[in-house]
Symmetry: C2
Subunit: 335 residues, 2 copies
């Protein structure tokens, strides 16, 4: 069996308390320090985190609740979260909610059972009731991407509505007036982005037209279908805003099946600058979210909650976005 602190005790003749103190960075006489270090090396001693956790009631592990590990957005975020956490000496326990609120709730309980020190959640929806259990267990929670309905949890996110408006405004500035949108209608982010689209249009004195909106599921499939729908309109839009990565992917594929060219025949604006964007030709104009910062801020916020006491109120960090320019938007001649 692995060496225990007791073996170190035998080896050094010191007491458990002293060794424990050393292990936790306390002050120990230099000579004792040397003895202990030697013994540790010889015995290949490593602290048993489980035992430590039992008494300290901390596991140095945070749970991450991802709505879907299959989504590339989740994957990217997980990477950043994982990296930050590792630097801070924390491990992470990732749970996949499979886009299913029931599984999500199970997972919350699982994480509570595992006595994680905190939870970072990419929730399935803005209904975050399942997280109340975590609160009851006094486990701090930080949300990413989607705030809870009642804003009772810390949250790191972007202003989806504003980001979308910004993108559409860009299209308007380039002379586009008939602007189509492909969006998801089942999610918080999708709805917000659709609102932002409306905001920008109204600002410019236009109204969103139902015919120019293809709303469906958050999927490559629907991106494909939605774009097909918009392209088959008698009066085609001159530009299309695709409000998330999967939709953009499907939409570009649909466009590629036609003889139409971007940006000559139609301009495109996407959302989320992930791997793909480097390879799509023409390079898409797109709204980019600061993924890395989102992950990092969330970890920071959580660690702060874990470390010090509780801030009284919940806190939201809203990160900025920008429109990254590619070659997919044509400048229309008209004033």
């Amino acid at each position: 069996m692995a060496a225990t602190i007791r073996d170190i005790k035998e080896r050094t003749g010191l007491s458990l308390a002293t060794i424990s103190k050393y292990l936790n960075g306390g002050n120990v006489l230099p000579e004792n320090r040397i003895k202990i270090e030697a013994a540790i090396k010889e015995l290949h001693y490593e602290v048993n985190e489980i035992a430590r956790g039992l008494v300290t009631n901390r596991t140095r592990t945070v749970g991450v609740l991802a709505y879907s590990v299959e989504s590339i957005f989740n994957g990217t975020l997980l990477r950043h979260i994982g990296n930050s956490l590792r630097k801070a000496g924390y491990g992470l326990m990732i749970c996949d909610s499979c886009d299913d609120p029931k599984i999500e709730a199970e997972n919350v309980n699982f994480l509570i059972g595992k006595k994680v020190d905190g939870i970072i959640a990419l929730p399935v929806s803005t209904k975050t009731d399942c997280l109340k259990a975590a609160r009851k267990a006094k486990i701090p929670v930080v949300l990413i991407d989607r705030p809870s309905e009642d804003a009772s949890f810390d949250c790191v996110r972007i202003d989806n509505r504003r980001a979308a408006a910004q993108a559409v405004r860009f299209l308007l500035q380039n002379g586009h007036r008939r602007i189509g949108i492909i969006c998801s209608h089942s999610e918080y982010t999708g709805e917000e982005r659709y609102k932002g689209y409306g905001d920008a249009l109204r600002e410019a004195g236009a109204e969103p037209q139902e015919g120019l909106c293809a709303a469906g599921t958050h999927s490559i499939e629907f991106g494909f279908e939605g774009m097909g729908r918009l392209l088959s309109l008698k009066e085609r839009p001159t530009a299309v805003f695709m409000t998330n990565y999967e939709l953009a992917l499907g939409a570009v594929m649909a466009l590629n099946r036609t003889k139409l060219h971007c940006p000559e025949d139609i301009s495109l604006m996407g959302f989320d600058d992930l791997i793909m964007s480097h390879v799509i030709h023409p390079r898409l104009h797109m709204v980019v979210q600061p993924m890395k910062e989102m992950g990092e801020k969330a970890v920071e916020l959580l660690l702060e909650r874990i470390g010090s006491g509780q801030r009284e109120m919940a806190m939201e960090i809203v990160l900025g976005t920008r429109v990254s320019e590619g070659d997919s938007v044509a400048k229309l001649g008209e004033k």
Copy 2:
């Protein structure tokens, strides 16, 4: 604080042992059972897994070492692994190796420190030295997708070479002779698949030609570039085999940038049937791996190792693949 087994003891007047036995599914007098269950409900008691783990030396958690959580192949597999594990009452701790052997090694140690009951590894490479540490700690390991160089670990995978040969054979049967390949040259799977390509060609009396092989990194970017390279050949291939998902994606995009049509002008054969395939038009012919089974078998194998004693020798499960037919392969007229 949360209720402990001791509170149940007070409440029921029974002893710790009896309660513990009940908790672990042992036989208890009906009347006692009722008492205990009532107390549990009233006190909202839940076992402390940490404490239990300390004494049983089992955590009911398995670690998963993923070479890249950003890769969709990993994402899909993680989902299946997670689902199987959840059904078995196990949790999983996912670690992202970021395609970096150093981080991978750190992660192994992290998981050992967390006292996971077993490890499922999607290793960065076939050099699996870092996993020796797990073996030393007596933690069972099951590999997925990539066997270790010395075949010393259990492994669930496909026969990449045979799968590739099968795909190329299919193209040959459809009359293709000039068959190009886009593959990754830095990985085990890429190399195996390239070998399979050669096998099938030689079987048909042909030799792989260097000019028809675009080998590069495992990325969408290279898929795009590689396809461009093949298309610009004086004598274009009549069919192209893209040996993984990312490469296929990039390649299809490159093709879509040209006026060429599939399958009229060029036939395509892909690898890995993931989400995307449903939307690519024409539907790609492709080699499909049984992702779900891979995940499930890996869990099964691991749980078996965890449960019973150790099988003496390592075991490999090689799952079959098949060519799923789409619309991307033309039948050439020649004999």
